[in-house]
Amino acid sequence: MKNRLFFLLLAVTAGLLAWGTYQALYVAPAEATMGDAQRIFYYHVPAATAASLLFWVNFVASIWYLWKRSPVADAIAVAGAEVGVVFFSVVLISGPIWARYAWGTFWVWDARLTTSLILWLLYVSYLILRKSSELGSTSVLAASLAVFAAMDMPIVYMSNRWFRTNHPQPMIGTPNLNHDMQTVLLWNMLAFCMFAILIAWFRFELERTSQTINQLHIRKAAQGVSMAMLVPIPALLSAKPAMLLLAKKAAFFGMSAMFFAHKKLTMFLLQTSGADDLAHEKLVQHHYMVAGYVAVWTIYIGYLLLLMNKLRKLHQEEREMRAS
């Protein structure tokens, strides 16, 4: 049942991502000053939204964990934080690429960017804490840190808003979007948020399986006797193809986006055989756009590969347990 829902959502998300990317590359009108480089906007902003959403999830799950000590809450918290970090990495990489073209500088200490960076740092430290803490105390410590991080975030935002006045405050965020751009943005928003939720869900199941296997290890060590290993390993994961599909889908999109982009580029080059300034400028814009896509999809695919690896290891552990 859950399996089917997942695959259904997978198909839907794949469709949405395709649609969104197509819209971003072809349908959305080129922006006045920045041209095609501005198209980075269409996955930069949704990634930021998705990441913020996931961090909220982490915060709520952490509080729930501190109150009820439920392993489900803990698994949700991990999934939220990890996938959130991935999406925020996308934001922090695509942002500067865009900024380099738009304002000539990679980085600016304005309120939003700084907040994003610090949020990223906080959650990376969260993940590191989880990795290096003793078994048994991990969840509690991490949850406490999450509460601290959540308390800190509004403070960070406000402090930057009010006090970094000696730095230029460029106008990021919503430039005057005309209606078409808004529509494209919304489609991509939907697509990427679903993408994020799907990956987070997968990560959640991975974590639950890992928890179950750990429990079994403990029980096995205590009992020393072969148990009827009717472990309810979530059906989602016993279907390895699920992961492969996800990875394939991601690869497909990355490549197709690059292909479209490059196609556009070559078409454009063919049209304007003269090397005038405008053509040169457009070329540069294209480069930035492609660079953005490459960087971002590398991150997504990289993370998915990591998850696949984890899944493989879990399967291996499960096999070892059944064997002994």
Binding site: L66, L121, S125, S133, G136, S144, F148, M151, F163
Partner: protein, 226 residues
Amino acid sequence: MSLGVARLTSVNLRKDLRLEWRSRDVFNSMLFFALLVVVVFSYVFDASAEEARRMMGGLIWIAFLFSTIMALNQSWARELRNGVLDAYRVSPAPPEALFLGKCLGNFLFVLLLECLMAPLFVIFYNLRALGNVWLLLPIFLLGTWALVVNGTFFAVMSIRTRSRELMLPLLLLPISIPAVLMMVTATSAVLTGEGSPVPQIKFLAGYCVIFTTVSFLLFDTVLNAE
């Protein structure tokens, strides 16, 4: 109950002070370390008085931050050696008293370091504040408390991790960024005489209140996370 916490906090504090006094080796090394930091920084960031005033805020607080982390790293060391922390946890004494006592002890210790380092900075850079010098007092007090309260809390967290000494700065730095920003801009405002540091001071006060409360509430949970 709250009277009990206050009394026990003072008990803990006095015990820490006495222990610190007895084993002065740590104390001495920290003082020397603080001196070294000032010298190295002053040497590397060689600047005229005019330039110095602009960057002094940042420089001083980086130096303080660095020293604070070194000092905090061993703040729980005495409790861990010989397992005294367990004895405390098994007693009916409230853990919050332990936390506050530790914070106050660390606070006094770090303040002492700062009192040593600040005059040295003034000497090396020939500093003269163009703004209201007395405002430096609340800035230093609030800023130090902000660092110490979070630092003491994260130091307890790092007890249960591998690479304990690394975990503390890793956890402390991101959380402290807004507070450090406040301290730096406020100090710069006082030194250069441009702008008022009062909003930053208010902000720091708010920060201290929020994080002292959160640490206070979560300390018991984190202490007993086993």
